[in-house]
Structure formats: structure tokens, C-alpha cells
Amino acid sequence: MGESTEEYLEAIYAYNERGESAKNHDLSERLGISPPSVTQMIKKLAGEGLVTYEPYKGVTLTGRGMAEAQRIVRKHRLLERFLHDTLGLGKEKVHVEACRMEHGLGEEAAAALCEALNNPKTCPDDGKPIPACTLNTEDCTHCKNIREDGRQLQLLTQLSNLRPGEVGRVAFSRGAGNASQRIMDMGLCQGTVVKVVKAAPFHGPIEVSVRGTLLAIGRGLAEKVFVEVKDKGDKPTVDERQKLAVK
């Protein structure tokens, strides 16, 4: 993923995170790029299945776009924390520095940075939340073992980030005790293919199709389920199609 793609995704994320779509002219201003170039890039991103664009409304990240954006935003905000907390840089300087460093930071190093910083929750300059860690672990005690296992560094996002119509494959669910078991008991266990059918407004629950039935899942629980986003290009297998067949 190129540096400029990452910059775009980050910028769009900043709007989407507040529940807004990103407008072309806002992006143009924020990134310091001319509006026609922005339009061009959005088209390219849309072609890659990372964003969707609706005229008059703006740009919204797809599930996969969200996964990519969260990965880079997470690095950015962790770096801000590091620059501020460890190196003692002023709050006003950390953003620009982090922007330069984030693109070169590897996944394993980012996880190590998170552990070294004691798993911070928000970034220093404007207090925004740092996107969740996507390693399959309940707490940080086994972080080192897990991040050294290459399998664990795959691109994941929370089920709550998928948009209606998108399909993901469950990687794991994180949640203290009962919640995680319950999610699995209801059929969202590792390897299960799940399709988001609908999302209730006002940050309400999502409706997903899994194992031939529909489930309603509150946002809180959906945020605990980490999925690998299936590309539009990946054709579902016959078996998967049957399972996704909505009632």
C-alpha cells in the first residue's frame, strides 16, 4: 500500500470516525491536493474496493478500507504517544512527526511499541481513541509471543466496521469471559463466514447473516469480533453461498 493511499485513508478515517462522510473539498484542503487530483484518487480507491463514493454525500471507507485505515491510524497515534510521552516532544509537534514515521513502521514493531507504551488508549494531541489491537489475545501478557507469530499479523477489523452487504471471515473474538463464549456459541466462531445485512441507525445493532440464520448483534459485542474482510473479487464458495443464503 503506497504512502499516498495511506494518507488518503487516514484523512477519510478522520471524518468517518466522527460518523461523517468525507467531502472532496475537505479532503483537498486537509491533504493540500487539488480537487481534481482528489477526485481522481477517490476513483482509484473506489476501484480497489477501499472506499465508496456517493455524490453530494462524500466518501466512506469500506470494511477493507477501514481495516487498512485503522492499521495506519493506529501506528500514527501510537507514534504520537511515543514522541510525546517517551521523547517529551510538545503536543503541537507530534502530529507532523508521526505522519512522517508511520509509513515505515512494521506490524511487529507497532505491536512492540504498543506494549512498551503500556497499551495506551488515546492519542496525546486531541485525545482521539487509538484503534484496537488486532492480535488474538485478551491482554498484553503474551503480546511478545503472539506478535512474533507471523500468522497473527494479518489485516483484521472489527465486525462492527463492515458495511451492509460486506462479507468477512471471523478470526477471533475478544471479550472478558462470557461475552466471547456467547459470541462463539451463537455461531460466530473462528473461520465462520459472516455477511452484514443491515445496520440499525443511531449507532444501533447490526444484523448479520451467518450459518443460514439472521442474528442481531449490538455494537458493543460486534466490536469484540475481529474479521478478515473478504474482497469483492473473492468469489464465495458454493458452501459459503449456501450458508449466507438469507432467510
Partner: protein, 659 residues
């Protein structure tokens, strides 16, 4: 060893008389209660599991010389410890050893249902599978090879369509056959090699541990890290904890997932394979059912439809109820005239009338006109699958008062009657959620309170003031809900539920359920209403009420600014809240309340009536479901709140210049 005791026990049964206990187990929305109702008809009773707020439905059936006791276990998806229902079910199966368990399975969602079947098999009971909703499966293009499924699972499989009473006789016949032929118990299916060897490793350590559960099941639960089983075993053998943890770690290192996750995935994978091998799929057509599902979950139309349904529901109930109530009250009035003219108005006759008959009349005139239509409509909404949609749409709003979407359903019931609301709280998963839900539901303005608000505030002050009063109540519910959410210990639960596909409710099932609910309500609320009526009448006869009125007057007159007579009225109001208005009129000798109360007094009075205490029937249900402590705590909280806030409202109204 556990098996021997049971075999002896059951052969003992056969000698005594031909008795059989069968339990129905399965997911929610698979038609389990339809099967239960078809089997037992009206020969059933609903109680609670000992010490639990979980409903236990039990009924009897006579079939080919047997008296068969049928227990309807709660609808659940797993046998872990997520909800009280799951704990109750697994304990029942292991400890009570029903002779046969009928696992009701939704043929149209075999994959998810067989996951539960596999867990039942792990408990090693005598299992039969009722492959239900065959009609639905057919309409979805799913064909199931019953024999192949039966062979793979190693248990009998009987296809059924419970709504049409198809296949039920075969199931019972099969259950009797299993019992008479003394068949061996069902065998669990095997996991993958690693898990199996880990299970065996743990079983070998369990030889001296006595639990009511099969050792293999205990081993599986220890691998999964089931807290309850851990407590059971580790209390006896603390050194096992280390061994289990080591085994778990080994599995986790190989798979990169928690052991519980590996086991659940293996179960699902197996269920999925079984389902696939036993069924063939055709491309399903998009039916009216799917379109209905889409419209009712829609972010915009969904809400419009929901509001229309709820408004329509209350309109129907109140129109019907109003009509029936008028009819009833004129009948009772005639009866009263006849009673006194025939028997005279001696003190004894008046006492019998006021103390006893009035109570029964009171109960009847609430129960019949409003509750019956309410139950009927509710049953229809439930059977059709619509209530799940309501929970889905309201989840976000309900989270603001610390509950998830399902909590809206009992609260909605609360507008009809708080008794129903408190009973309805059983749909929440944990004791904590149930309690929060019951607490806020007891503050929802029920039909009786609405009568007071409408009759007093809306009539004399205008509709705007009535709306203000409702708004105040909702604000209070919101604040108290948040406080309860913060104060009560325990982990809050998020919403996760199946969205059942729409079904056309059948008249028989709907009527049967309405009848059973009504019976339940009558049993629970009637004795209390009658007894309460009696006590208050005795208190009145011996002059205790006048003393109380004087004792209360500092609160009623000085703090709340109400006439002294409201003291007695409020005491009677504990029986039935709409009684406050009737009584006020009879004490003051007029039904024109404008002559006896100032606008401020009307507002304050209605406010106090709205929240001051749950009515006696609601208190009794709270008592039954949550114990005396909770019932008292909720009642006291509400009394204190009503008095404190009532006085503040009174002063505020004076301050803003309302007189």
C-alpha cells in the same frame, strides 16, 4: 457410575406404574413450545425453577398406558454459563435425568441447531431429535435425508411439523420404545485428535472426583474453562487446576486460539459437515417473508412500521378494554344493588361486600377487559417473530438506560400492566439485567396510572400537562436506569439474538398461550388483590385509616400541598392505582375535581400516584421473582422518590406561577 443409579431408578419407575419423564430441549424459535403445547394441551402449569427467575413449564400427557411428564426446557443455544437458562438446563439434564430428551431442531437452520445437539450428546442422555419446521425447510429449498442424519448422529430422528401436529405421535412412540427396550444412552461425537487426547488426559485425573455429570463432559468443560465446573472440581482437587492450565496452554500454542474457541469451532465444523451431508439445497425463492423481514428492519420504514404497530396495538386494547370495562362495571353495579337489596345493609353484609367481593370484582375488572386483549395481541406479535425486530430497532435507545434491545419488550408491556412487565423481564439473560429491567418497568405508567393522568390532568389541565407528566416519568426512568446500571454489580450484557423468520401464528397456539398467561396472572395477582382489599377494609372498619391519615398529614398537606383526604386515597391506591381517582371522588362527594383540587394539586397528586409505589400485584410479582429484599427495596425507593420529588414539583409549579 452415575449411569447405574439412573438405570435402577428408571426400572423402579416401570414397576410402580407406567411413568415417563421427557424433556424438550432446543434453540429459541424452533417451535419447541408449540410442540409442548400440542403434547400437553391445557394440562400444564408454569412455575419457576427453584430459586431462579427462570420459567419452568411442565405438563402431562397420557399415551398408550403411560403417564408422561413433559418438561419444556428454556430455549437456548449452548450449554455454557452465559445465561441462567443454560445453567438450569444442563443441571436439570445431568441431575434429574429425564428418561428421554427430545431435542427440537429447526430443519431450516440445521447447522446452528446441530451445534446444540452435539452439546446435548456430550451429556450422554437418551436423545431423540424432532426435526421440526419441515414445512419451512421445504419452502427454502432444503431437503433433508432423515435416515442419514440419524445414522451419523447415532440417535433416532423424527421429522415433524408441530403447527400441524405432524410427527408428534411418532416422537412419543419412539420415546416409549427407547424406554421400554432399555436402550443404551446416546454417545457423544468425537473431536479432533488433539482435543480428544487432552480430554482423555483429564478424564484419567478425574477418577476420584464425584460430580453429577459424565466425566467426559466435565473434562470438556474444564478445557473450555467453564467457571462453574472449575469450581466444582477444583474445590475437591485443587492440584488439577495446574494440570488443566498446562493442557490448555499446549492447545493454545498449537492452534493460536483459546481452547474454548478451538472446541467451539470444532463443534460447529462438525455440525456443519453433518448438516451438509444430510441435506441438499435448491436455490430458494425470495418470498413475502423475506420482504417483510427487510421492511421491518429497515432504518426508516422499520421505525414507522413499529410505531404504527405499537400505536395500533394500544388503540385496539384500550378500545376493546374500555368497552368491556363499561359492560362489566354496569353488570357489577346491578349485582351490587341486588346484593344489598336482597341481603340488607347490615355491617356484616357491607363488610363481606367491601372486604371480599369488591376485591374479586376489582381483580376481574382489571384482568378481563385490558389484560385479555393485551395478552392476545402480545401473543400474536411474539408468535409472528415481530418482537425480535422491536428489540433490534430499540437496542440503541435502550443502551442509554443500561439495557439492551430486548429490555424494550417488558417495558412496552408495562404500559399495559406492570405485573406483565415484571414477568416479561425473564427474557433478559442475566439476573442483573432482569433486575434493572424490572425496576425501570415498575415505573412505566401502566393502564391504571394512565386512567388517573387522563382523568385528572388531561381533562382539567389539558393534554400538554399530561404529556409533561409522561415526559417527567420517562426522564426519571432514564436517570434511575442509569443509576441502577452503575450501582448493580456484574458484567453488562450486549445484545446478541437470532432474528426469527416471520411465521403466521396459528389460532390454537395463540389462544392457548393467552389462556395460560391469563391463568398465571389470575393465580399470581388475584389472591393478593383480594387479601389487600380485605386488610385495608378491616383497617378502615377499626378506624386505623383515620389515624394514619392524621399521621400522614405532615407529608401530604405540608410537604405535598394536597388535601388531607389524599392520605387515605394513596393507601388504597396501593391496591389499584386507578382506585385513587374513584375514591377521591367518593370521599369528596363529587366527580368534578375542579371544585376540590387546584391545578397544582391535580398535577402533584397525579405525579405522586404515578411513581409512589408499585401496586400490590406488582410488588407480589417482584417478591416472587426477586425475593422480599428486592421487592421492599424497590417499593421503598419509589415511595421516597415520589414524596421527595412530589414536594419539589409542587414548589416549582408555585414558583413558576401556576396555581
Amino acid at each position: 457410575m452415575y449411569r447405574y443409579t439412573r438405570l435402577e431408578g428408571s426400572s423402579d419407575y416401570v414397576l410402580k406404574g407406567k411413568n415417563l419423564t421427557i424433556a424438550l430441549a432446543g434453540n429459541a424459535n424452533v417451535g419447541k413450545s408449540v410442540i409442548f403445547n400440542q403434547l400437553t394441551g391445557l394440562h400444564q402449569h408454569v412455575g419457576n425453577w427453584p430459586g431462579k427467575t427462570v420459567k419452568r413449564a411442565e405438563g402431562t400427557l397420557s399415551f398408550s398406558g403411560y403417564t408422561i411428564d413433559v418438561v419444556d426446557l428454556p430455549g437456548i443455544y449452548s450449554l455454557s454459563t452465559y445465561s441462567i437458562e443454560e445453567r438450569v438446563s444442563r443441571e436439570y439434564i445431568a441431575v434429574q435425568h429425564p428418561d428421554v430428551i427430545i431435542n427440537v431442531v429447526d430443519a431450516s437452520a440445521l447447522d446452528r441447531n446441530l451445534f446444540f445437539t452435539m452439546q446435548l450428546l456430550e451429556l450422554e442422555p437418551h436423545l431423540i431429535i424432532a426435526l421440526n419446521q419441515m414445512d419451512l425447510a421445504k419452502s427454502r429449498g432444503i431437503k433433508i435425508d432423515v435416515d442419514s442424519l440419524s445414522k451419523q448422529l447415532g440417535v433416532p430422528v423424527v421429522p415433524t411439523t408441530a403447527t400441524r401436529n405432524e410427527g408428534l405421535q411418532e416422537i412419543v412412540t419412539e420415546a416409549i420404545r427407547i424406554h421400554e427396550e432399555n436402550m443404551p444412552t446416546s454417545k457423544p461425537l468425537l473431536f479432533g485428535e488433539e482435543i480428544e487426547s487432552s480430554i482423555n488426559e483429564i478424564i484419567s485425573e478425574l477418577s476420584e472426583v464425584e460430580t453429577p455429570y459424565p466425566p467426559r463432559w466435565v473434562a470438556i468443560k474444564l478445557l473450555e474453562g467453564d467457571e462453574e465446573v472449575e469450581r466444582l472440581v477444583f474445590d475437591l482437587r485443587p492440584e488439577l487446576r495446574k494440570i488443566c492450565e498446562a493442557i490448555r496452554r499446549r492447545i493454545e500454542e498449537i492452534h493460536g486460539h483459546s481452547t474454548a474457541s478451538v472446541i467451539t469451532s470444532e463443534r460447529y465444523a462438525q455440525a456443519s459437515t453433518l448438516a451438509k451431508e444430510a441435506s441438499t439445497y435448491a436455490e430458494p425463492l425470495k418470498s413475502l417473508r423475506d420482504r417483510l423481514g427487510e421492511a421491518t428492519d429497515h432504518p426508516i420504514y422499520g421505525y414507522i412500521i413499529m410505531i404504527a404497530i405499537i400505536v395500533g396495538m394500544f388503540y385496539t386494547i384500550f378500545t376493546l378494554g374500555d368497552y368491556a370495562a363499561k359492560l362489566l362495571s354496569s353488570t357489577f353495579e346491578m349485582f351490587r344493588l341486588w346484593y344489598f337489596s336482597t341481603l340488607g345493609t347490615s355491617p356484616l353484609q357491607s363488610f363481606i361486600w367491601n372486604g371480599l367481593i369488591e376485591g374479586i370484582i376489582a381483580g376481574t375488572s382489571i384482568a378481563l377487559p385490558y389484560i385479555i386483549p393485551f395478552f392476545l395481541v402480545l401473543s400474536l406479535l411474539e408468535d409472528s417473530g415481530y418482537l425480535a425486530r422491536v428489540a433490534f430497532l430499540m437496542d440503541s435507545l435502550m443502551h442509554r438506560i443500561g439495557l439492551h434491545g430486548k429490555g424494550f419488550i417488558p417495558m412496552m408491556l408495562g404500559f399495559g400492566c406492570n405485573v406483565l412487565a415484571c414477568l416479561g423481564c425473564a427474557i433478559m439473560e442475566t439476573e442483573r439485567e432482569r433486575l434493572i429491567c424490572a425496576f425501570v418497568s415498575s415505573l412505566v405508567p401502566c393502564a391504571a396510572r394512565s386512567i388517573v393522568i387522563m382523568g385528572l390532568v388531561a381533562t382539567y389541565l389539558g393534554f400538554g400537562w399530561a404529556i409533561t407528566l409522561y415526559a417527567l416519568d420517562f426522564l426519571l426512568i432514564f436517570i434511575l436506569g442509569r443509576i441502577a446500571f452503575k450501582v448493580l454489580p456484574g458484567e453488562p450484557m450486549g445484545l446478541i439474538m437470532e432474528m426469527p423468520s416471520y411465521k403466521v401464528p396459528t389460532a390454537k397456539v395463540t389462544l392457548q398461550r393467552t389462556w395460560l398467561r391469563l391463568k398465571d396472572f389470575v393465580y399470581e395477582a388475584f389472591p393478593i388483590i383480594v387479601a389487600g382489599n380485605l386488610i385495608i377494609d378491616i383497617a378502615n372498619t377499626i378506624g386505623l385509616l383515620n389515624i394514619l391519615q392524621v399521621a400522614f398529614s405532615p407529608v401530604t398537606v405540608l410537604w405535598l400541598g394536597l388535601p388531607a383526604a389524599t392520605g387515605i386515597v394513596l393507601i388504597f391506591g396501593v391496591l389499584r392505582k386507578e382506585l385513587t381517582l374513584i375514591l377521591l371522588a367518593s370521599i369528596m362527594g363529587t366527580t368534578n375535581f375542579a371544585l376540590i383540587l387546584t391545578p397544582v394539586q391535580m398535577f402533584v397528586f397525579s405525579f405522586v400516584v404515578m411513581i409512589y409505589i408499585p401496586c400490590i400485584a406488582t410488588i407480589s410479582v417482584l417478591w416472587k421473582e426477586f425475593g422480599a429484599k428486592v421487592a421492599t427495596a424497590i417499593s421503598l425507593t419509589e415511595v421516597i422518590l415520589a414524596i421527595a420529588l412530589g414536594g419539589i414539583v409542587y414548589r416549582l409549579l408555585l414558583l413558576v406561577g401556576v396555581h
